[in-house]
């Protein structure tokens, strides 16, 4: 059975701190790994990673995939209160039709 595990489960930091969120996976037919941010209900897309070692960057957020060790990290630098959310990692299967999600990391950024 495909499995995606995220750590830590929750994290509390202060504005300006840097955080690293972890995602490890065991899947039979891996195609891509995706990161989403979920503030209220709808997860919003952050990154899609398909190749190892290539960092994707968007502002203060960056992510990288290691397909040999089967994990990905999401970094957020200079955190702001608006970064408070649940961050979800998901793996897309080879057919491209199913996302398997991890349990998420709940990040709280205090002023």
């Amino acid at each position: 059975e495909d499995k995606v595990v995220q750590s830590p489960l929750s994290l509390v930091v202060h504005e300006g701190d840097t955080v690293t969120l972890n995602c490890s996976y065991e899947v039979t037919n891996f195609r891509s790994l995706l990161w989403y941010k979920q503030e209220k209900k709808a997860p919003t897309f952050l990154f899609m990673l398909t190749s190892s070692g290539i960092e994707k960057k968007s502002g203060r957020l960056s992510s990288i995939l290691d397909k040999k060790e089967l994990f990905s990290i999401l970094n957020i630098t200079a955190t702001q209160t608006g970064d408070s959310a649940i961050y979800l990692c998901a793996v897309l299967n080879n057919a491209g039709n199913m996302l398997t999600f991890g349990g998420g990391t709940r990040l709280m950024v205090k002023p």
Binding site: F45, N97, F101
Partner: protein
Amino acid sequence: GAGVSQTPSNKVTEKGKYVELRCDPISGHTALYWYRQSLGQGPEFLIYFQGTGAADDSGLPNDRFFAVRPEGSVSTLKIQRTERGDSAVYLCASSRGQGAYNEQFFGPGTRLTVL
């Protein structure tokens, strides 16, 4: 439309009742997905449509759950004889097509509470 929309946003029902949850995908998106998210967990895949047909329904938990997409656009998730364990947020997503490069856009979800 601008994004995926779902109605109702909240639904409270009693155990044993029948409910229907609606999803309007982004215009032109051929692929549509239903997920269920229980409190404190990540979303779990339920069913995937490509056009009008359910291409993969392996995530539906039992035969009380059924989904349709008769015209290849709007989809309805139907739950019969609801149980308290069905309480969750039901998320719908759509994408231009299937495949690794077609991002899934999520709707705001329907929060279902079964009393």
